[in-house]
């Protein structure tokens, strides 16, 4: 066990944005909630997954609804408490710890704030190792763990407990209840045992985020190039360097879909990278070859600061370094690729691990 203070939260927020691969929403409100919770309740205990007893009850927490509502109607902090109490009563068991469902965006931060308020530890684990847009895109789903019983609660004290036949129904019912509750609610979801969490979760994700954030911060303080350190920390590969020359967005079925073109600089001069995104960056290719594709991670970084650039932040003229990071092996199974591989997002390419694509590219040259 170790304790997370304010500096750790700031660093984790930067790392979360990088692993958010361009999506996941602005973690700002979540970060402030965590900072205030630390001011009020002290540092947040962080457990490694090995410190969780096999039979302990662990529950993920976060928000669902419209991000626009969240930034205006900030949570009370009490919602999660009520949600957890309701779940404990229903399951007749105490919650031992909470954890983030995804590593990117606002939901990477909220469990930290909620843990401090609830007096619970956070487990250093998540269900994606990155960010994805849909609730079933978690490694728990791959192992057949149910999202329900889940609880959604608003700041007024309204609580809804859902026990549904599958995760799709959970999503459908929870969404309409969320609108009635004012468009943004906090949830307690995916209750499971410590054993389940250890087997199905992605380990040490917060530590990785913190290390990424810290290396970007220190690189800036010491005038160092942060990219090399980021690649080492993430086992990642530099895919491309260049300048954004075209961004084409359209909002389709609730997702920000689009493409961006990046013109090569330095050793990539003469090549153009095409980046496809759908909330997250999902595919990177040049004219003649694929460089990286979901579920592997594609992060676009500011070439000077190393700070991650979101899909909304992609603008003509931005100088970028595009890196590819191997996803967790759980995503590389047939079911993993079926759930969030290129075909699911409508891209007509075969999934090939980024390290193989990089190797192939090197021999081609």
């Amino acid at each position: 066990m170790r304790l997370l203070g304010k500096q750790e939260i700031e660093d984790i927020a930067v790392g979360a944005a990088l692993l958010g691969t361009g999506g996941g929403g602005d973690p700002y409100v979540g970060k402030l909630m965590a900072l205030q919770a630390i001011e009020e309740f002290g540092p947040i205990p962080l457990l490694s997954v090995d410190e969780v007893p096999e039979d302990a009850l662990v529950v993920s927490s976060g928000m669902m609804g419209a991000p626009t509502v969240l930034v205006e109607k900030v949570p009370s902090g009490h919602e999660a408490k009520v949600a957890f109490q309701t779940l404990e009563k229903y399951l007749e068991k105490k919650v031992f710890a909470t954890f983030p469902i995804e590593a990117g965006g606002v939901n990477s931060m909220l469990p930290l704030a909620l843990a401090a308020q609830l007096g619970l530890p956070v487990v250093d684990v998540d269900g994606m190792g990155r960010a994805f847009p849909e609730l079933q895109m978690v490694t728990f789903y791959l192992d057949g763990i149910s999202a329900t019983p889940m609880v959604i609660a608003d700041e007024k004290g309204n609580v809804t407990l859902l026990n549904t036949i599958d995760n799709l129904w959970a999503e459908r019912i929870a969404r309409s209840a969320t609108v009635q509750k004012g468009g943004s609610v906090m949830f307690a979801i995916y209750p499971m045992t410590g054993k389940n969490l250890k087997e199905s979760g992605i380990h040490n994700i917060l530590r990785l985020e913190e290390e990424i954030g810290r290396s970007i911060r220190l690189a800036k303080e010491n005038n160092r190039d942060p990219i090399e350190e980021i690649l080492q920390l993430t086992n990642g590969f530099e895919l491309f360097r260049g300048k954004v020359v075209d961004v084409n967005r359209k909002t389709e079925t609730g997702f920000a879909r689009g493409t961006a073109k990046i013109e090569g600089l330095e050793k990539y001069k003469g090549e153009t990278l095409e980046l496809r995104f759908q909330n997250e960056h999902l595919l990177a290719k040049t004219e003649d070859r694929l460089l990286c594709v979901t579920p592997d991670l594609i992060a676009v970084l500011d070439s000077e600061t190393g700070l991650p650039i979101t899909t909304e932040g992609l603008r003509y003229g931005a100088r970028t370094v595009v890196i590819g990071i191997p996803c967790n092996p759980k995503w590389r199974t047939p079911k993993g690729i079926e759930t969030c591989g290129p075909a699911y997002f409508g891209y007509d390419v075969e999934y090939t691990p980024v390290e193989e694509l990089v190797k192939k590219g090197a021999t081609m040259k």
Partner: protein
């Protein structure tokens, strides 16, 4: 014939112009900006009037773009005693007011902070009824202890009822002497950012009042009884009463003024504007005669707000930028500058510091000071330095463009002599007359505007009718602000659908602007 004065305070210089009815420049002047800001303004004002020779009673308007409020916030000085009231409990308790604000500023502002039950949902329902009793208790507690109150209610851009009711109670108990800042008149959706802006506004009310009264009195002392306006960050004006109520809107009007002034001088409504000052070069984008606004949250004195500021890229290159040449022939350009001390430190003026100005003079690209004083410098090296200076600007220009197509570039600012007549990425380079005081001209010719920004359910009226309604609201606001109704145009309109909300909810923003009403 009637006349108007425009004054703009920059980091290095305070510029002033005097224009006639047809916006012809009668006189212009530049004086060093002073630490107290006001002294420099008065000096520039007297100089520009003296030079013009126009009869003083014919000067009808005076427009001022000033940094009084920015400085007060950045320096944390002369701030009001503020009470902060947020309406929104039981929501919002997880992030209290001022969390995330730098500690030194927070300690000034956090003495009286309250969160009251009330506020609205995105669709206008109440989160909870407004806790009137609590507001009376707060009012009695802060009475005599604060002189300014910031009130922010959840979703007040959708429903302002609770903010208005709360203001009524504060006014009733504290009397008319207290300043009240309401968030729905200051910012848009995004509670914490809007609240921060409202608190900052409350904190600089006195500073703005003193600045405005000082300026009016200085004009009177010159025998001028002009109507005074303040420039705001969107390139439009507000009258004194409004500026004293909403001084935060004066923040960052300088870059806007220079972009608007450049637009007027070059007679272009779409272009890039490169403003080279003493210390920095600011590059902004002119779209339909207004600056393109930044989509990112803007920080003022370390505080995150949701103000829309001109989208600028700023690089450390100006007339006073210090050039350092090392033993091995390598060199650095800035980022520091001798600033307003250029006339004593620069080598062409007999000083001992090599500046960007000295480089262009030595290369024969500008005639300033005494070229003999830099004639001994290594031309080949200077050429390399010069090329890098130009490249810095070209790279920044490229960053600001939205496509690879070349666009017209307007060069303004006293330091624009540094730059050549051809720039990469520019279809043409324009140096208008009076380029040195484009910012003061921008202040003088500014229009008055009205803006509406709120969440509408498009299903109720349909998109077309909703936009019409929003347009009418913006036009009414512009008329209220003093625009001549016949000249009002819609200058900006945006509707953004909100994800995951029913009723086809959309955030609609409309801005209308027109020429100042003559009456």
């Amino acid at each position: 014939m009637s006349y108007r004065i425009g004054i703009d305070v920059g980091g290095t210089h305070t510029d002033a112009v005097l224009l006639d009815e047809k916006y012809q420049v009668i006189s212009e002047t530049k004086t060093p900006t002073t630490a107290d800001v006001s002294t420099g303004i008065y000096k520039a004002m007297r100089e520009v009037i003296g030079k013009s020779g126009v009869p003083r009673e014919k000067i009808r308007y005076a427009m001022l773009g000033t940094t009084h409020c920015t400085n007060a916030i950045v320096e944390r000085k002369r701030l009001n005693k503020v009470a902060v009231i947020r309406i929104g409990a039981p929501a919002t308790l997880a992030v209290k007011p001022l969390v995330g604000v730098p500690d030194d500023l927070r300690s000034h502002l956090e003495k009286y902070v309250y969160i009251v039950r009330g506020g609205h949902e995105f669709d206008g329902r109440e989160i909870a009824p407004l806790d009137v009793e609590h507001l009376y208790r707060i009012a009695n507690e802060i009475k005599g202890k604060v002189d300014s109150v910031a009130i922010t209610s959840v979703f007040s851009p959708v429903s302002k009822d609770h903010e208005l009711k709360a203001a009524e109670i504060i006014r009733e108990v504290l009397g008319s002497g207290v300043a009240i800042s309401l968030s729905h008149e200051i910012g848009s959706i995004g509670l914490l950012e809007r609240e921060n802006a409202t608190i900052l506004n409350a904190a600089v009310v006195n500073v703005a009042k003193t600045a405005a009264e000082g300026f009016i009195n200085a004009l009177k002392a010159e025998g001028i009884n002009a109507k005074v306006f303040f420039g705001q960050n969107d390139g439009t004006l507000m009258n004194v009463e409004y500026a004293i109520k909403y001084p935060i809107l004066t923040i960052s009007c300088g870059p806007t003024n220079s972009i608007r002034g450049a637009s007027y001088l070059a007679q272009l409504s779409n272009a890039l504007v490169v403003d080279v000052g003493g210390t920095t070069t600011d590059i902004g984008v002119l779209i339909h005669s207004f600056p393109r606004e930044s989509s990112l949250a803007v920080e003022i004195g370390g505080v995150r707000t949701n103000f829309r500021m001109p989208d600028l890229v700023s690089i450390g290159l100006g007339g006073g930028t210090i050039i350092r040449i090392h033993q091995d022939g390598s060199f650095t350009i800035g980022p520091d500058s001798v600033g307003y001390k250029l006339p004593e430190k620069g080598m062409v003026f007999g000083g001992d510091t090599l500046t960007a100005t000295d480089v262009v003079v030595a290369l024969g690209k500008a005639k300033i000071g005494d070229p003999q004083k830099v004639a001994h410098l290594d031309k080949e090296l200077l050429n390399r330095i010069y090329h890098q200076m130009v490249e810095m600007v070209e790279e920044a220009i490229d960053k600001m463009k939205t496509s690879a197509d070349p666009v017209p570039v307007i060069l303004v600012g006293g330091g624009s002599v540094l730059l050549p007549d051809k720039l990469k990425g520019a279809s043409k380079v324009i140096r208008p007359d009076h380029f040195g005081v484009a910012n003061a001209i921008g202040a003088a010719i500014a229009q008055v505007s009205g803006q509406v920004e709120r969440v509408f359910a498009l299903d109720e009226l349909g998109r077309e009718k909703t936009l019409e309604l929003a347009k009418k609201m913006a036009i009414d606001e512009a008329i209220k602000a003093g625009a001549n109704p016949e000249t009002i145009e819609i200058v900006d309109m945006e509707d953004v659908p909100l994800a995951y909300l029913p009723g086809n909810a959309a955030r609609v923003r409309v801005k209308a602007a027109g020429v100042l009403s003559a009456s």
